[in-house]
């Protein structure tokens, strides 16, 4: 890979698009999005339209900027000192980085699930109710309804309905991750961002999460970062292949995996590097 000296070649290459259009069009549009950590540029001119209501997977080797891109969408990168961005990310046509955008409101429209399950050290109920609580909801009934709905959608309700008041840290790893998904969708967001949600789970728990993603498809716009190419192939409609901070190829998952347009994509998918 190093011998290929891809740096120069990449400057030339244009992203190849063959996106599978969703029924409702795109609700997340990135245009020439660049990002720097201090002086180091991590993302180079990313342009992609994330289709509404379907699953988009981000794949690529470690350090290619998938997670950075995902975290730019709900501006979690704001926490990092010395970060600068250029270009735009538009949610329903509005630039999320524009001055005057309320980042808290923005994050309320997006749920996020992290690599390692990170339930809060409180009861199962309080975990799921947390997004509503910070939103100022006090009404016990509303909280209970939202909690039941979210846990139901996350396929966890049957398992935890009798232990809602128990500490969430007592759940198993897979249950914890589904709890985090329930928490992410409790306030009914538009977009669900998943950052390698299965990387810390065993195969059975992974299978359940994948089932869950399949069920959630259609309700939310889902963007999932994954290292596992089979997983991307199984759960997603569109796949974006990233390499060294650039978007190389973005298109329908079947196309990418069966018939990639670029040799670099094909090399990665067939395991020749990465």
């Amino acid at each position: 890979m190093a011998a290929a000296a891809p740096g120069l070649g990449l400057e030339m290459e244009e992203t190849v698009y063959h996106v599978k259009e969703g029924a409702e069009g795109a609700n997340l549009e990135l245009e020439n999005f660049c990002l720097w950590y201090g002086k180091a540029q991590a993302l180079h001119g990313i342009g992609m339209k994330v289709q509404k209501g379907i699953v988009t997977a981000l794949i690529g080797p470690s350090g290619c900027g998938k997670s950075t891109l995902l975290r730019s969408i709900n501006r979690m990168n704001d926490l990092i000192d010395g970060l600068s961005v250029r270009g735009s990310i538009r949610l329903d046509g509005k630039d999320i980085n524009a001055p005057g955008v309320d980042v808290i409101k923005l994050r309320k429209r997006m749920g996020m699930v992290f690599q390692k399950p990170n339930p809060f050290p409180m009861s199962v109920f309080e975990n799921v109710a947390y997004p509503l609580r910070v939103d100022g909801v006090r009404d016990r009934r509303m909280l209970a309804d939202a909690c039941e709905r979210a846990l139901g959608e996350a396929a966890l309700w049957e398992e935890v309905k009798d232990r809602l008041q128990e500490n969430a840290l007592g759940l198993s790893g897979g249950q914890q991750q589904r709890l985090c998904i329930a928490r992410a969708i409790a306030s009914d967001p538009d977009v669900l961002l998943m950052d390698e949600p299965c990387s810390a789970l065993d195969p059975i728990a992974t299978a359940r999460i994948e089932e869950l993603i399949a069920r959630l498809r259609g309700h939310f716009t889902i963007v999932i970062v994954t290292h596992n190419m089979q997983q991307a192939a199984r759960v997603s409609d569109n796949t974006a292949f990233m390499y060294l901070g650039r978007l190389i190829e973005y298109g329908g998952t079947n196309e990418i995996f069966v018939n990639p347009r670029l040799p670099r994509t094909s090399d990665y998918i067939t395991g020749r590097f990465g």
Binding site: I104, R107, F114, K116, V134, N167
Partner: protein, 606 residues
Amino acid sequence: MRTEDGKAQAPAPAPPDGRPARPGESNGAEQLPPAPAAPPAGAPRRRKMGHADFSSRGEPILWTLGGGLALGVILITGFLVMVFWNGLVTFYPGPIEVVTLKDGKLVAGEPARSEVFRPGPEVLRTLDEAARRAVAASGGYVSRTLYRIGNYDLYNEDFRWVPEFEVKEVRTPPDMFFIERLEWGSFVGRIKALKRDGQVLEAGKFGLGNLRGEHAEARARWQRVRRIERTEIGEVNHYLEKERLAVRRAALAHGEGSAQHREAQAASAPRTEALKKRHAGLSAQAKAVKEVDEKVHLVLADAAGREKEIRLSEVVRFYPANSLGWGDKAGVYFSRWWEFLTEEPREANTEGGVLPAIFGTAAMTILMALAVAPFGVVTALYLREYARQGRLVSIVRISVNNLAGVPSIVYGVFGLGFFAYIVGATIDQLFYSERLPSPTFGTGGLLWSSLTLALLTVPVVIVATEEALSAVPRSAREGSLACGASKWQTIRRIVLPQAMPGIMTGLILAMARGAGEVAPLMLVGVVKLAPELPIDGFFPFIHLERSFMHLGFHIYDVGFQSRNSEAGKPMVFVTTLLLIGLIAVMNAWAICVRNRLKRKLSAGHF
């Protein structure tokens, strides 16, 4: 790395001490001929190799480390055992020995301790031949015993050393009494008689049981006088002072002789009159009780028969030291502990109880914790969560750490100068001007002491809180932020609860440090004697401006500032025991709270 030697030599046989030869271990030393005259080249080489052995094995270092730990543990255990032992036995009643000296004099007292000493030649010269020989036979050493002889009013000393060679005979007569008095310390001797209304009742005929009855009555009278003088007259005085202050306030606000001032005077006059009348009535009551009391006296005699007459009500406790059963001894022991824990001190703090000091220590520590917790936590929160991490924050952090190393007396000076003389004086000017020139907040007191100690301990809390905050995992913060929580919501609902055990640890350390601190308190509010507790029945109930007593200062005062340090010594140990106990209890409580929090945060995940 080892060794030139090992390579050169063939695999070694088992060394002579039976240790199996380890592979790679050079036994060059043992292979040398056992003759004392080793080859000249062998000696330095051997030493060199032994050195390499020493550092490569690491075990000697292990011994050093373990030894350090053991030394520390032994020191601490030894200290605790000493304090516990001395503290616990202090109140146990000992026997009274009556020693007949060779010159015919009598010494009676409780043996306090014995030691061996070497009498000087000028002492030996005064001895007779037999005694000198005995001293010489034991190598010039003689044992001597310290007796607590009491009777300070008769002898002008409380303790006396009696060397063995002066002793002719030691007896423990059953009729010797140990009598604790309100004044002059204890009395050791016999009870001759009880004088009541001019009658003299011989003790022998009167009986000990009857005497106890009389004594209980006398003590009840004394309690009554005290209650009248302290509580009831104290209350009247409090209201009288309030009236005076009301008039003074009117004079200050509207001018001397103004209409309002005269009005206030007129309004206050009848009330003052009534209070004065009540004062006179109470004084008369107290006087009447005292008159009855004056008629009941106890006639005591020391071992040699010197008589002393005191009021029966002045006797705190008396017991026949040599004819006590186990039950009686336990009774005396626990009654002394009870007195110690629930009474005020007397006799320049060397006798009586330490209730005000216990109360003062606890109140000050709790107030300090209340002040230091929010202050330290807020500072640490800002430093860790909000401030831009740069040079300025680094400097602040280093300064905070260095504050922990400032000598505590410096804080005392600061507390006195800033809190008492600047802040307190301003408060007095604004709110308590009618009481001037006597200061209210403008002098040391409970509040200023607590705040001074809070300043002293705030670095501990800041450092601990910062560490606890930075230990909260990033994933928890991100999870909360991703849910649409604001930074403050994340801190309040996620970060602070998770950091709480660490914060509590810091607070516990701060409390332990603050409760044991004495030096700054001497400047900002601790006094030798303050029988008035900072909490009482008068509005506003908690009197933060009052000076108070503190166990740590009490130890210093009793041990080093009292008339007779030998008499204070047992009290030093008991008070130390109590101080350690109090700090241990407060810490145990805080640790319980912390562990409950911890359990909540880490429910079993396996």
